[in-house]
Amino acid sequence: MNQTISAQDTLIKGVLDQDLCSACGACVGLCPYFTFFQGRVVVVDRCSLAEGRCGAFCPQLNPGEWLKQEGLGPIQEQWMTRAQTRSLQRKGQYGGTVTTLIQLALEMGWIQGALLTGIGKGGEPEGRLCRTRAEVLACAGSKYTGAGTLSALKPALEANEGPLGAVGLPCQVTALTNIRSYFSRKGEPLPEVKLKIGLFCTWSLPFKKMQKKIREQGIHDPVVKYDIPPPPAEEFQVFTRKKTYTLPLTEIRPLVPRGCLACGDMTAEGADISVGSAEGVPGWNTVLIRSEKGRQLFKEAQYKNLLDVKPLPEKNEVHLQTAAGLKKSRARALREEILV
């Protein structure tokens, strides 16, 4: 009987039991001992391995470069953009840029499929492999709830015939980087995630608690979108097809998992391209291009006139740096406190 603590135990005691899980889904993705269900990581069986992928992938146990980097991470170019097609603009959270870029990457054959986040039967967000324009469009829009997208990584890799792309929150992007390093260290063939688009994120909410909250407010129609208008609004907006509801942000904040507070990566510093809202400019995205791959994709999009592109206003840049910097310093402080 081995007395050594297993990798799974480390994850359970160090992350899950501490409410530090941000529901990225990476630990679930390539493992049968965990599953992702209704917005949370569920331990289904106990594994005895002392070392394993779950611990190596977890962005909380292995935080990304953001912890060491200052500012917004590596940036080659920065822009403000939106999709040229009106329908794409409307479907997207802000400007429809992410949808545009993914659809383009598919069309050009750079990737054969993309791991995105859609909405499942019960209304819960879930990871999904998308291969057509329509499938990609169906996943447009911010889910604001922990989706465990990477739990769908394994079936996506198996079903897909070529390189995969992925759109994820900063924790998911970090996890994808961790996954790549893990396989590289092991000298094993790498699951090919060729393109990582990261989304700006301050926090995401646990699905079941969110569902309960919304039902308590008397909202029973399916939710199509959430949004947080810029300060000083202090509001949380819930969009259904019929109506838009507004909840005070003070009621939403207590639901935020500690894991999100322990993360200081607001702009997905590990992605090829990071995309978020453009503060004060509704209908437009802020785009940070971080890698050569990202630059090439963006150039293609410009060349094909798929995007309206403008320079990023200075006040937006400053605001972004301030907000991201604040999240980073708070996160660093919290991590020092809880992670010994």
């Binding site: 331990v43 289904v44 391995l49 992928r53």
Partner: protein, 633 residues
């Protein structure tokens, strides 16, 4: 040893033979280890005799049915294990007041050490409780003879007589000399000049005690009390039942034949005190050897205190003195230990060098052998689905278990899902409590699992209570079309009875429907859908839900042609011990057909053990386990 003995019979077979030699016409019981073979033997013989045999729905009904035969003038036998006596006890304590007609004998087969029971319980106390004569045979031959004696005794006093066996007697085979079969064909008739009720209670109570006194006389005269040893023993062992052989062997091994005498009593309630007295007068130290509780010990000590002023005090050793543990079955080694302790002797069963060597080797080398579900067992699949559903639900739900093969859900073979087991039907009984606790803030979902046979035996009243009192409950009926653990006896859900006759089966779903309960029938071999259904049922906030998980027991299926698949592990897809699997099939699912090949570092199918049910294909995270249809041979 001049005659050739007739047969090698086990205790239960000898009891059955004794009953036939006593001319019984009626036998009823409920399956329960170690008693089941009595009814099974009689059922096989039924066609050769004028004999009716049945497995009743429970032990109370079994005894009631046998009592009816007795009231009508037919000799009858009822059999059960120790827990069955508890179930029948309300009837017994009334029957002893009403009296009986033709000979009626209750056989209880107790299970010291609880080898196949949920408890370790001494059923002999029913004799004191209901003031009944109690007989304890010490060998299969004696069991045969005592059974005949018991019927004669019962008939002479018009009351029930209890014969008590234990596992080591019931299942021990030994030379048996058979007697003549009694052939009588009385026409059953209830004499309306007699009554079989308990009123007026007090006079009948006195009559009952008179009967007991007459039984004591018979006990005194019986050939079943024996002594072996010196004329003036220094220490006397008083024993009964299995203790007779153990005690004599211990005395022989220790070479104490000249110092220690062994007394065995055949009737242990009421005590044959007149027969015993001369021995008590001669000896100063007494050691009691008996199975389970200090029943005989207490009885003799009571009597010794009564006659104390006449014979003086004695030194008593046994369970109360700590020389024999209160728990566990008796063995010759326990008697040896008690004797060496009392007499201050040294005894080594083997030389200490060997003893040390062997203890060390065993400890280092020999792992335990866990029990588990058979390969192809539907319960493994059921508990897999339950485990997954409860984890997904995430509210710390658990399972209230019941009695059957599926009780093994308490262990790793059933993924440790069961958190409580008590008596037959207790799982559903508990739900009547848990199901009312929501208003107090109780939020843990509770699932009751109950087998098809257990369902008929004990769950129905509990189910009615759940419906009537509007409890919240989720019940899984594990319908494997068998009473498997005790040896595949028929039950009301099946199509034949113990005599092999066709009977109309009573489907569980029909019973539930009559209570207004909609039922979902699932195949537990479909792991995902079953888990999904259980999960959905867990989300309901009120009402009683019944899911029937129906799939034959693997052993039943084996007799009916087996399973259709030949299983194989695709070694290329198998990840073995690597992360992403870590031997998921053999380590977590734990079917004995899935083994681990050290050399190749891959899972493998043990072709001798695997039965080809195909369920494991759903478990492997790599889809490395493959199944193909067997060729018809």
């Amino acid at each position: 040893m001049s005659e050739v003995p007739d047969q090698l019979l086990m205790g239960n077979e000898a009891i059955a033979r004794g009953a036939l030699e006593a001319g019984i016409s009626f036998a009823a019981g409920y399956p329960g280890n170690p008693s089941s073979e009595i009814i099974e033997t009689l059922a096989k013989e039924a066609k050769n005799h004028r004999l009716y045999v049945e497995w009743s729905i429970n032990e109370k009904v079994a005894l009631e049915a046998a009592a009816a035969a007795s009231f009508a003038g037919l000799r009858a036998l009822a059999t059960m294990k120790q827990n069955g006596v508890n179930v029948a006890s309300d009837f017994i304590t009334n029957l002893t007041l009403s009296g009986t007609g033709a000979g009626l004998v209750l056989v209880t087969c107790d299970d010291p050490s609880g080898i196949s029971s949920t408890n370790e319980q001494d059923a002999r106390f029913i004799a004191r409780l209901a003031d009944l004569p109690l007989l304890e045979p010490s060998s299969p031959q004696e069991a045969l003879e005592m059974t005949r004696f018991a019927f004669d005794l019962s008939e002479s006093i018009h009351n029930l007589v209890v014969l008590r066996s234990v596992s080591r007697l019931s299942h021990t085979r030994q030379n048996c000399r058979l007697g003549e079969l009694r052939r009588e064909d009385p026409r059953p008739r209830v004499d309306l000049n007699k009554v079989f009720h308990t009123f007026p209670v007090m006079p009948k109570h006195q009559i009952m005690h008179d009967k007991l006194r007459r039984a004591a006389e018979a006990g005194e005269q019986s050939p079943f009390n024996r002594y072996e040893g010196p004329d003036r023993p220094e220490l006397m062992i008083i024993t009964c039942g299995s203790g007779w052989d153990y005690s004599r062997e211990a005395v022989e091994l220790l070479g104490l034949g000249y110092r220690v005498g062994v007394v065995k009593l055949g009737m242990t309630w009421p005590l044959p005190v007149k027969w015993l007295r001369p021995w008590m007068e001669k000896v100063s130290k007494v050691l009691f050897i008996e199975e389970v509780d200090p029943f005989l010990e207490a009885g003799v000590k009571e009597w010794a205190a009564q006659i104390g002023p006449e014979i003086g005090t004695r030194e008593f050793f046994g369970k109360e003195s700590g020389h024999i543990p209160h728990w566990g079955e008796q063995t010759p080694d326990r008697v040896i230990e008690a004797l060496t302790g009392i007499l201050g002797l040294d005894y080594q069963s083997r030389e200490s060098v060997y003893q040390e060597k062997i203890s060390k080797r065993i400890q280092e080398m020999v792992p335990p052998r866990e029990f588990g579900f058979c390969p192809g067992c539907p319960h493994r699949a059921t508990y897999w689905a339950v485990k997954n559903a409860l984890h997904l639900d995430g509210r710390e739900g658990f399972v209230a278990g019941d009695i059957g093969c599926y009780t093994m859900g308490i262990g790793p073979t059933g993924f440790n899902q069961i958190k409580s087991v008590h008596a037959m039907g207790s799982g559903l009984g508990l739900l009547s409590g848990y199901g009312q606790l929501s208003p107090f803030g109780f939020s843990q979902p509770v699932i009751s699992v109950v087998g098809d046979s257990t369902f008929f035996h004990a769950a129905i009243p509990a189910l009615i209570n759940l419906v009537h009192n509007q409890a919240k409950a989720l019940i899984l009926v594990l319908d494997n079309r068998a009473t498997a653990m005790t040896g595949f006896q028929p039950h009301p859900g099946l199509e034949t009875n113990v005599l092999g006759q066709a009977v109309p089966p009573i489907p569980v779903e029909n019973l539930c429907a009559s209570l207004g309960l909609p039922v979902t029938i699932l195949d537990p071999f479909d792991l995902e859908p079953t888990s999904e259904q259980i999960f959905q049922a867990l989300q309901e906030t009120e009402g009683v839900r019944v899911l029937i998980l129906r799939r034959p027991c693997a052993l039943v299926q084996g007799r009916e042609g087996g399973y259709p698949f030949r299983m194989q592990v695709n070694a290329e897809r198998c990840l073995g011990e690597a992360c992403g699997c870590n031997r998921y099939c053999s380590r977590v699912f734990r079917c004995p057909g899935l083994i681990w090949d050290e050399k190749s570092g891959r899972a493998q199918i043990d072709e001798v053990i695997c039965v080809g049910c195909g369920v494991c294909t759903q478990v492997c995270p790599q889809k490395a386990i493959e199944k193909e249809e067997r060729q018809a041979s």
